[in-house]
């Protein structure tokens, strides 16, 4: 048995490698959530009943949903706090900047995406709050599922109502572009952070990051537009 004491966990949390490790693990957790969320969204392309049946099914799981929700909040908080702290530390480590800073070129991974992680991240944080407030804690309408006995929440209507407004459509689509940027660097970076990277894997993973970022961002990007146009 290994003994991992409380002080060791704290030491890990405070160390530079530990901080990155946790940013990476929480980032991977959030990416996993995005995949599930995107799969769930496919219901919107089928219709209102599919969406409402899916959300009703989720909420029938009861306390499990609550546990997952609290877990996600904790993951977002740890990820955001560490990300912001890393960005602050960076300023402290170089109080006086360069007149010129030019990339040394490949194999550098420095890109507009890698340089803007803190800004795309902060927008994502604000967006997550907005998004949860708008939908999870949004208006509650009752509807009956075909063959149902008890009314369920009409989540479909809540979403469709929001995206009736082109301003919301534009805001959501804009944030999804920024999400794409966050993932373009983040997907690759997370595996580097947890030490799951070698010289051989690096190029493949960096290419995979681009594919992942485009697919996920595009998947979320088209839905508001689609709902706006079909209604």
């Amino acid at each position: 048995m290994s003994q991992v004491s409380e002080s060791k966990i704290l030491k890990f949390y405070r160390s530079q490698t530990g901080r990155k490790f946790i940013t990476g693990v929480t980032g991977i957790g959030l990416m996993g959530f995005l995949v599930v969320h995107l799969a769930g969204n496919l219901g919107f392309f089928i219709g209102g009943d599919a969406v409402n049946a899916y959300t009703a099914k989720l909420h029938s799981l009861g306390p499990l949903v609550l546990i997952v929700e609290i877990g996600l909040i904790a993951i977002v908080l740890f990820h955001a706090i560490l990300g912001i702290s890393i960005a602050q530390e960076k300023k402290r480590a170089r109080p006086e900047g360069y007149a010129l800073h030019v990339s040394g070129g490949a194999p550098s991974r420095m890109s507009p995406a890698s340089k803007s992680m803190i800004w795309t991240g902060i927008v994502l944080l604000l967006f997550i709050v907005l998004h949860v407030w708008q939908f999870r804690f949004g208006p509650h309408y009752d509807t009956m599922l075909p063959g149902g006995v008890e009314p369920v929440r009409d989540m479909y209507k809540v979403v469709v109502d929001v995206f009736a407004d082109p301003v919301w459509v534009a805001i959501y689509m804009g944030v999804m572009v920024l999400l794409g940027f966050h993932l373009r660097h983040g997907f690759w970076s997370a595996f580097q952070s947890i030490g799951a990277m070698s010289s051989r894997l690096s190029n493949t993973m960096y290419a995979a990051a681009l594919v992942f970022a485009v697919l996920i961002a595009l998947g979320f990007f088209v839905l508001p537009l689609y709902l706006h146009m079909v209604h």
Binding site: K20, F21, K90, H101
Partner: protein, 253 residues
């Protein structure tokens, strides 16, 4: 082969001491030979400044053959200049053309305070090294080279990390001024070799902790360090360092 002298416009960071306020000074050299190294071009400037009774530009150098790691400066925004896998001293003026403007700045990091002009204090690296970047052995006469067999692939990988000359370009180029590539190179080199095993866990924890004590930033995986490293050390070493640290904390040191 062209021997024509070039005119080069320099913009050099001048700072008279650690706490003095620095500024850029402009100098124009019209006798720069394309065969000169970058440092020889600075020698020409300094000779002129000395003759004119001005204070020459202070810059670090020793071997002038890319192995001591003392000569690093930021040249037009890139640590060690435009040619990859080349220390400032090995960069030649043939990469520039007549009339070019070149901005020269010192490494910039809180952990590397400026001593004067282009010279910075890199003893923070020494302290990271002292924290654990060694192997404690009885120093008798040198053992036979084949006394400890090491596989070719492992020896090669360890050698690639051992190529680090501690110049500090990784810190200079890193948007976060992180010392991760330097520290990872030292840790990886010793973690790969049998001689490094007894102190493996203690070493990674002590060296990683020292980076923070010295005031280097966190690593955000930009990978800019690998691009400017005169020895081309791979950031795969940084991933390795993180694995090593995680294992050390998990299994106790």
């Amino acid at each position: 082969m062209s021997h024509d002298n070039m005119t080069i416009h320099l913009r050099v960071w001048r700072q008279s001491g650690p706490n003095a306020k620095g500024n850029f000074e402009q100098y124009t050299l019209d006798t720069v030979n394309p065969h000169m190294s970058f440092l020889e071009m600075l020698d020409v400037l300094n000779e002129r400044l000395t003759k004119e009774g001005q204070v020459p530009v202070e810059f670090d150098h020793d071997c002038r053959e890319g192995i001591c790691g003392s000569c690093g400066v930021v040249i037009n925004g890139t640590a060690h200049g435009p040619q990859q896998r080349t220390a400032s001293c090995q960069l030649h003026m043939r990469h520039y053309k007549d009339g070019d403007a070149i901005t020269i700045e010192p490494w910039r990091a809180k952990a590397f305070p400026i001593v004067r002009d282009l010279v910075v204090d890199r003893t923070a690296f020494d302290r990271i090294q002292e924290a654990g970047g060694y192997v404690s052995v009885k120093t008798g006469s040198a053992p036979d080279a084949h006394a400890v067999p090491i596989g070719k692939e492992v020896a090669d990988e360890a050698f690639d990390y051992a190529a680090c000359i501690g110049c500090g370009a990784c810190v200079a180029a890193c948007p976060n001024a992180s010392a991760s590539l330097f520290t990872a190179a030292k840790i990886s080199q010793l973690a790969l070799l049998p001689q490094g095993q007894p102190e493996r866990k203690r070493r990674v924890v002590a060296m990683v902790d020292q980076m923070k004590v010295e005031g280097f930033g966190d690593c955000s995986n930009h990978g800019e360090c690998e691009a400017v490293c005169p020895k081309g050390i791979s950031i795969a070493g940084i991933a390795k360092m993180r694995r090593e640290y995680f294992k050390a904390i998990l299994t106790g040191k």
